[in-house]
């Protein structure tokens, strides 16, 4: 009876999956000192027996078999769907976990970059401040050494400060000009592209207009190549003239 053996195995698996795991220590912590143990085989036998008894008591023999099969199938379907659900949940959980990790990594990277940018900015400003301070200190020291008056010192400091400000302005203007040049270049490219599109469109319109003018054309009255007919007037002479015209053209076109 392989079918019955299969059911028993599935029942055993199902009971095993539905069972919750625990350890002796945990039971002890909960105050449990003794446990009653029922073997898996016994549980499966109980379920099987219970189903058979119910069926035997309530149904006729023919119906019993059919209902038993249907019940078995339904039970199996439930087991499978339960397994699939679990598997899906596990997959989803793994995915969520991976996403969390990725987000965490990105946040960390972003924070590092912001910090690096701030550090770079600070360093730039600090070195800039230091440069200004050094310049001013040098100017003031030199002025004091040379015994210059306050007005002269003020002029010199102003010169230095204006020089630094001017340099800053020039850098800013250059950056703006570069941005403007980029913008102009971009616009020029767009204009060039539009001009090309316009030309194409005009060409297509022209072609369409010509096609429209031409229509389908008018059929020739001839379906086949004609040539001189035997009975025509002056046939021989005209045939000879045609041959001569052809020969001249053959020589001209094919070098023959």
């Amino acid at each position: 009876m392989p079918a019955v053996a299969g059911i028993k195995k599935n029942l055993a698996d199902a009971v095993r999956k539905l069972a919750t795991k625990t350890s002796v220590d945990q039971l002890r912590k909960q105050g449990v000192k003794q446990v009653n143990v029922v073997g898996l085989d016994r549980i499966v036998s109980f379920v099987e027996e219970a189903v058979h008894r119910t069926l035997r008591d309530r149904l006729l023999v023919g119906e019993r078999a059919a209902i038993a099969d249907a019940t078995r199938e339904e039970f199996m379907r439930l087991l499978r769907s339960n397994e699939e659900l679990r598997a899906r949940q596990e997959r989803d959980a793994e995915e969520v976990n991976a996403l969390r990790l990725e987000m965490q990594r990105l946040n960390q990277e972003l924070a590092e970059r912001i910090e690096a940018a701030h550090a770079e900015e600070r360093s730039t400003w600090e070195s800039e401040d230091e440069r200004i301070a050094t310049t001013v200190r040098t100017v003031v020291s030199a002025a004091l050494r040379e015994g210059r008056d306050a007005a002269s010192l003020e002029r010199r400091v102003l010169e230095v400060v204006m020089g630094l400000v001017g340099e800053e302005r020039r850098t800013t203007l250059e950056a703006k000009a570069a941005a403007r040049d980029n913008e102009v270049e971009l616009l020029q490219r767009r204009i060039q592209k539009l001009a090309g599109s316009l030309e194409d469109a005009e060409q297509k319109i022209g072609e369409l207009a010509r096609t429209k003018d031409g229509g389908d054309g008018i059929s020739s009255i001839y379906r086949e190549v004609q040539g001189l007919a035997d009975g025509e007037d002056d046939f021989a002479r005209r045939q000879s003239l045609m041959a001569e015209i052809f020969a001249q053209n053959l020589k001209l076109q094919k070098g023959g």
Partner: protein, 361 residues
């Protein structure tokens, strides 16, 4: 754009009916005018003028990359203008400012392409064309014309323009064709075979020279009047005559900006008369060197064709001079001067055997 009529043949079915076929095109590629006649019944003519927009603004206004004929002339101020054919062949020696040889070839190719388009070929039909060129066109120019035409047709042949006129009129024997164009006047002696060099005379005096002469005479006859070459050409085409004037040629020309009427009847006649003597000289040369036994036949079968043949009284004037200098002669003119060459070329295209066309594809 085109300046003359077009018509459909009896079996033509615009836009439908046939799924394949062969369209023959006869083309008269002239200095002043290019004409086509096709086996679908279409006949069209366009002035041999090509215009390209000078700049983006004119291109935008025109909404075209190239214009032809009358439209190009009307909008010439905003165009780079080309008359790509001089003396019926590519015009390299009188380039407009900034134009190069490539531009002339492009203009010629565009003109030939436009002439083919005017014939309204169906896309599913084979197009076989015969193009009439001046009798004395150089090999280089013939090759250039062929190259330009190949872009638009499946197979193409060239033939001598006066021969095409004669073939179209079924005057292959004992006839003398005078094809008066804008750039050249071609005289061709027909004696039943393909004309050879000795059978042909090309005169450089033609329609354009009449225009130049008329402009010179008008400067003297119409003091203070301002006029362009195009205006002179239009006056000539409207009033050209020899002999008694059918009407007075009264034209309005601006003098210091004010329209003023002038009578140019006599100067138009004087300008037109410059054609007669050289033509009669050419006739004398061709008739005089022909078999004496058949000279009288030739003298009495002189046919005037081309745009210049529309000068009223020209046939009579030539006859009169022939009478005085050659002892007589008879001159007639073709019924359709503009399409005489194209009709003949179309007939040649029709009569050309299939295998010949196939070999040139």
């Amino acid at each position: 754009m085109t300046s003359t009529t077009s018509s459909s043949g009896p079996q033509s079915k615009p836009g439908g009916g046939k799924d394949h076929g062969v369209l023959y095109i006869g083309m008269d590629l002239g200095t002043s005018r290019t004409s086509v006649a096709a086996s679908n019944g279409v006949r069209e003519s366009v002035l041999s003028v090509v215009g390209y927009p000078k700049d983006v603004v004119s291109k935008k206004l025109l909404k075209k990359d190239v214009v032809f004929g009358k439209e190009a002339l009307e909008k010439r101020l905003s165009q780079r203008m080309h008359r790509p054919l001089a003396k019926g062949v590519f015009k390299y020696n009188e380039l407009p400012d900034g134009a190069d040889r490539g531009e002339i070839e492009t203009a010629a190719r565009d003109l030939i392409g436009e002439a083919i388009r005017m014939a309204q070929p169906r896309k599913d039909e084979l197009v076989y064309a015969v193009i009439g060129v001046p009798a004395q066109a150089s090999i280089h120019n013939k090759e250039a014309i062929l190259g330009a035409a190949r872009a638009s047709v499946d197979s193409v042949m060239l033939c001598s323009e006066p021969f095409a006129v004669a073939y179209g009129l079924d005057m292959l024997e004992d006839a003398l064709i005078i094809d008066i164009g804008a750039g050249t006047t071609d005289l061709c002696r027909m004696h039943g075979t393909m004309p050879e060099e000795a059978d042909q005379v090309t005169l450089s005096i033609a329609g354009d020279h009449v225009d130049e002469r008329l402009a010179t005479l008008m400067k003297a006859a119409c003091p203070g009047a301002a006029f362009s070459n195009q205006m002179v050409k239009e006056i000539k085409e409207r009033y050209s005559h020899l002999g008694d004037a059918p009407e007075r040629a009264l034209v309005s020309l601006p003098v210091d900006g004010r329209p003023t009427e002038f009578d140019v009847t006599d100067v138009v006649k004087q300008a037109c008369s410059m054609l007669v003597q050289p033509i009669v000289d050419g006739l004398r040369r061709l008739i005089g060197t022909f078999d004496p036994e058949f000279q009288h036949k030739l003298r009495n079968r002189v046919v005037l064709a081309g745009g210049g043949s529309m000068i009223r009284g020209l046939d009579t004037a030539i006859e009169g001079m022939m009478r005085r200098e050659m002892g007589g002669g008879r001159v007639v003119h073709v019924d359709e001067p503009v399409y005489g060459g194209a009709n003949g070329a179309l007939k040649i295209a029709h009569d050309m055997p299939a295998e010949y066309w196939a070999q040139l594809r």
